[in-house]
C-alpha cells in the first residue's frame, strides 16, 4: 500500500513535469498558496476522534490561499514518516498536522529535524524543551466539557447511576471519567459512575457488550472515551438510555437520547494557527487550553435536558470561560478512600500532577488495573 502510494505520487509528479517541461515552474506557481497536510490515524468520518480533526481541516479549506491535503488511516509507525515526506516533497506542504498521539515520538521529532523550515503541529501535548523548535504539540482540556456533561447527566439520571465506556486507564481517560463524575455529583451528590474498560480504542463488540452490561445494572445515562462513540450511542439509545457524546456531536445518531457532549473545537483552533503563521507570529510549542481558549466545546443541549440542569451547566460554563473555575481541588478522595488532593490545594488545568493521574475519584465504581 505504502509503496503504491509513493509510486503513484512519483508518477503524477513525473507526468506533470513532462507536461510542463520544468518542475521549477510548478514550485514557483504553487508558492502563492500555503499547503497544509493532515494525517489521521483512522477514518475521517468515524463520528469520533478523527472526524473532529477532519472538521478542523474542513474549516481551513474555507480560508483563501490555503490548500489542504489529507491522508487517512496512517498507522503510528514509520509509515507516518513516509506520509510526511511525500506531503512535503510532492504536495509542497509547509504546515503539517499529524493528529494522532503516537505519531510524535520518534516520527514527528525526526521529521522536524529533517525539515527545519516546515511547521509541525502535533495533537497530544507532548513537546518538551529537547525537541526541535519547529515542532509543536497542542492539546485541549476536554475534561472541562466532560464536567459540564456530568452536571447535565447528574440532573437527568433517575437511578443515580451513570455509565462510562472507556478504552484504557491512561491519565487522559481517567481525567475525563473523574471530571464527569465530579460534575454529576455537583448535581446529584449520590450519583455514581460505573466504568468499564474495553482494553483498546476501537472494539465495537466489546463496547456494545459494555453498554448493555451497564444498562443491565440500572445505568440510565452513558458516556464514553473510545475512538468511535457511534456503537455506544446507538446501542444505548436502542435500550432507552440517555447518552452524553464525545469527540464530536453525535446527536444525529440518537436525537431523542442525546443530552449533551464533550467535543473538540478544532475548527476554531486550526484557522487561528494558520492565521498566526501567515502573520509571522510564533505558535507556542506547547499549546493548551479548554473551553475558554475555544479548544473544546459542549454540544447543544438535547430537548429532554431540564431548565434546572441547563442553568447550572451554563453557570459553570461561564466560570470556565472567565477562567475562575477549578475541577480538581482539595479535599479530593479517591474511590479507595485515600486523599489524593489535600484540602486547600487547587490543581489548575496546567498542573503537571494532573498529567500523572492514576486514580478514580470517590463515586466512580471501577478500578484502574
Amino acid at each position: 500500500m505504502d509503496f503504491g502510494r509513493i509510486s503513484r505520487r512519483h508518477l503524477l509528479q513525473g507526468s506533470a513535469a513532462l507536461a510542463l517541461g520544468s518542475t521549477l515552474g510548478i514550485r514557483g506557481a504553487a508558492a502563492a498558496e500555503t499547503t497544509v497536510g493532515f494525517i489521521y490515524v483512522g477514518s475521517r468520518d468515524d463520528y469520533g476522534y478523527n472526524q473532529a480533526h477532519a472538521q478542523g481541516a474542513a474549516a481551513l479549506k474555507k480560508l483563501p490561499g490555503i490548500k489542504v491535503v489529507e491522508e487517512e488511516k496512517v498507522p503510528e509507525t514509520d509509515a507516518v514518516e513516509k506520509t510526511i515526506e511525500s506531503m512535503i516533497n510532492l504536495d509542497g506542504a509547509t504546515l503539517l498536522f499529524p493528529t494522532s498521539f503516537g505519531y510524535y515520538n520518534p516520527h514527528v521529532v525526526k521529521m522536524a529535524g529533517k525539515f527545519p523550515k516546515m511547521h509541525f503541529e502535533h495533537c497530544g501535548g507532548l513537546w518538551s524543551d529537547k525537541d526541535p523548535k519547529n515542532a509543536g504539540s497542542y492539546f485541549g482540556y476536554i475534561d472541562e466539557a466532560q464536567y459540564i456533561s456530568g452536571i447535565v447527566a447528574g440532573y437527568s439520571t433517575k437511578s443515580g447511576k451513570l455509565g462510562f465506556v472507556a478504552a484504557k486507564p491512561i491519565p487522559q481517560v481517567l481525567r475525563n471519567i473523574n471530571a464527569f463524575t465530579l460534575g454529576a455529583r455537583l448535581a446529584n451528590p449520590k450519583a455514581t459512575t460505573q466504568v468499564i474498560f474495553t482494553g483498546d480504542w476501537s472494539m465495537p463488540v466489546k463496547e456494545a457488550e459494555a453498554t448493555n452490561s451497564l444498562i443491565d445494572q440500572g445505568v440510565d445515562v452513558l458516556t464514553c472515551h473510545v475512538d468511535g462513540p457511534k456503537t455506544m450511542v446507538e446501542n444505548a439509545a436502542r435500550r432507552g438510555a440517555m447518552v452524553c457524546g464525545y469527540h464530536v456531536n453525535q446527536s444525529p445518531l440518537a436525537p431523542k437520547a442525546y443530552l449533551t457532549g464533550a467535543e473538540w473545537n478544532w475548527e476554531a483552533l486550526y484557522p487561528k494557527f494558520v492565521k498566526m503563521i501567515v502573520a509571522g507570529e510564533a505558535i507556542p510549542n506547547f499549546y493548551r487550553g479548554g473551553l475558554k481558549e475555544e479548544i473544546v466545546k459542549v454540544s447543544p443541549y438535547g430537548e429532554m435536558v431540564s431548565a434546572e440542569a441547563r442553568k447550572h451547566a451554563d453557570d459553570v460554563k461561564a466560570k470556565f470561560m472567565s477562567g475562575e473555575y477549578t475541577i480538581f481541588k482539595g479535599p479530593l478522595v479517591d474511590n479507595k478512600g485515600k486523599t489524593v488532593i489535600a484540602s486547600g490545594t487547587d490543581r489548575g488545568q496546567q498542573d503537571p500532577e494532573l498529567e500523572k493521574m492514576d486514580y478514580l475519584v470517590e463515586g466512580v465504581i471501577g478500578a484502574t488495573a
Binding site: D45, M203, E209, A210, N212, Q217, E234, R239
Partner: protein, 308 residues
C-alpha cells in the same frame, strides 16, 4: 423501583445474553467453514468474507432501506468470494491456506475501501423478535430480544448434522473430504463438489457479517470484526468438524466475550484483560487437553492439507 438492579445476577444474565448476541457471526462462519472443510479444503479467507459481508449488507440496506436485501447481498458476496477461493484452488499445485490468507487480506482491504462512505450514514437494521413478553424484568427482556438470523443459525446446525449423515450430498461432501480418489472412482468431480461447498461456506460467512453490521453491534466500521472470522475458523477445529459442536462452541465464545464487561459492571475489576482473553484461553485449554501425539485429530477430514 422500576430499574431494580439484579446485582450479581447480571453476570450469568449477561453471559446468557452475550451468548445469543455475540455468537451469531461465530455460528455462521463456523458452520460455513465446517461444510468447506468437510469437503477437503480450508478457507482461511472467511475473515475477509465476513468483513465484506458486513460492508455489503450495510451498503445495500442503506441504499434500499431493506435490511433483508442487505443480508441477501452479503450472502451473494460471500458466495462469490467462496467461488474465487475454490476457483484458484482448482488450479494445480495451489495451496488453499495461502489462497485463504490472500483472500482474507483482499476481503478486508476491499471492504475498507468500498465501505469508506458507509461509516457515517445509518442503515436500516434487522428487526428483533421479542421473546421476553412473558416477564417484566427489563434486563431479561433485553437479553431475549433475539434476531431471526440467530434462530436460523441454530436451526442450520442440526440440519447440517443430519444432512452430513443421511443425505446423498452430505455423503458426497464427506467422500470428497475423506478420499478424493474414492469420489473420483464414483464418477464425481471433486473440484465441483469443493467449489459448491466453498461457495455455500462463503454464503453463510457473508450472512454472519451482515449480522454484525445490521444487528449487533449494528453499524459499519473498520474495527467491526476484530478477528471474529479467524476465531470462527479455528472454532471448527475446536468443534471437531461437527456442526452441533460448532453451535455449542459458538455459544460458549459469545458468552465468554460478554464475561469481561459483565464482571466489570458488577464491580469485579481486577484482571479485566484476563477476562477479555477468556475465549482464547478456553480455546487453548481445550486444544491442549484434547491433542494427542499418537493420532490425528478425531473427525478431521483426511484430505485436509493440515492432516494429509
Amino acid at each position: 423501583m422500576a430499574d431494580a438492579s439484579l446485582g450479581l445476577w447480571t453476570v450469568p444474565l449477561a453471559v446468557f445474553g452475550g451468548a445469543i448476541r455475540v455468537s451469531t457471526p461465530f455460528l455462521f462462519v463456523s458452520l460455513g467453514e465446517c461444510i468447506t472443510e468437510r469437503s477437503g479444503r480450508i478457507n482461511l479467507g472467511l475473515e475477509g468474507t465476513l468483513v465484506m459481508g458486513a460492508m455489503s449488507a450495510y451498503g445495500i440496506s442503506y441504499l434500499s432501506d431493506s435490511p433483508w436485501l442487505g443480508v441477501l447481498a452479503a450472502g451473494i458476496t460471500g458466495a462469490l468470494f467462496g467461488a474465487l477461493h475454490a476457483g484458484i484452488c482448482s488450479l494445480p499445485r495451489v495451496n488453499d491456506i495461502a489462497v485463504g490468507i490472500a483472500l482474507m487480506l483482499l476481503g478486508t482491504g476491499l471492504a475498507f475501501f468500498l465501505g469508506k462512505p458507509l461509516i457515517e450514514p445509518t442503515a436500516a437494521r434487522l428487526p428483533a423478535i421479542d421473546f421476553g413478553w412473558w416477564n417484566d424484568i427489563p434486563q431479561l427482556r433485553a437479553a431475549l430480544r433475539i434476531n431471526v438470523l440467530f434462530l436460523i443459525g441454530v436451526a442450520i446446525a442440526p440440519l447440517l448434522y443430519w444432512a452430513f449423515r443421511t443425505t446423498r450430498w452430505g455423503l458426497l461432501i464427506r467422500t470428497a473430504g475423506e478420499s478424493a480418489d474414492a469420489a473420483r472412482a464414483m464418477g464425481h468431480s471433486v473440484l465441483l463438489i469443493r467449489l459448491r461447498a466453498t461457495m455455500v461456506g462463503g454464503f453463510l460467512a457473508g450472512i454472519g457479517g451482515s449480522f454484525l453490521s445490521l444487528f449487533y453491534p449494528g453499524s459499519w466500521n473498520e474495527g467491526l470484526s476484530s478477528g471474529q472470522g479467524i476465531t470462527a475458523v479455528a472454532l471448527v477445529i475446536f468443534a471437531r468438524w461437527d456442526p452441533m459442536l460448532c453451535l455449542w462452541a459458538s455459544l460458549a465464545f459469545g458468552g465468554a466475550a460478554a464475561l469481561g464487561p459483565a464482571l466489570q459492571s458488577v464491580g469485579i475489576t481486577s484482571g479485566y484483560h484476563l477476562f477479555n482473553a477468556a475465549p482464547y484461553i478456553l480455546t487453548l485449554a481445550i486444544m491442549i487437553i484434547t491433542c494427542s501425539p499418537k493420532r490425528t485429530l478425531t473427525g478431521a477430514p483426511a484430505e485436509l492439507s493440515i492432516t494429509r
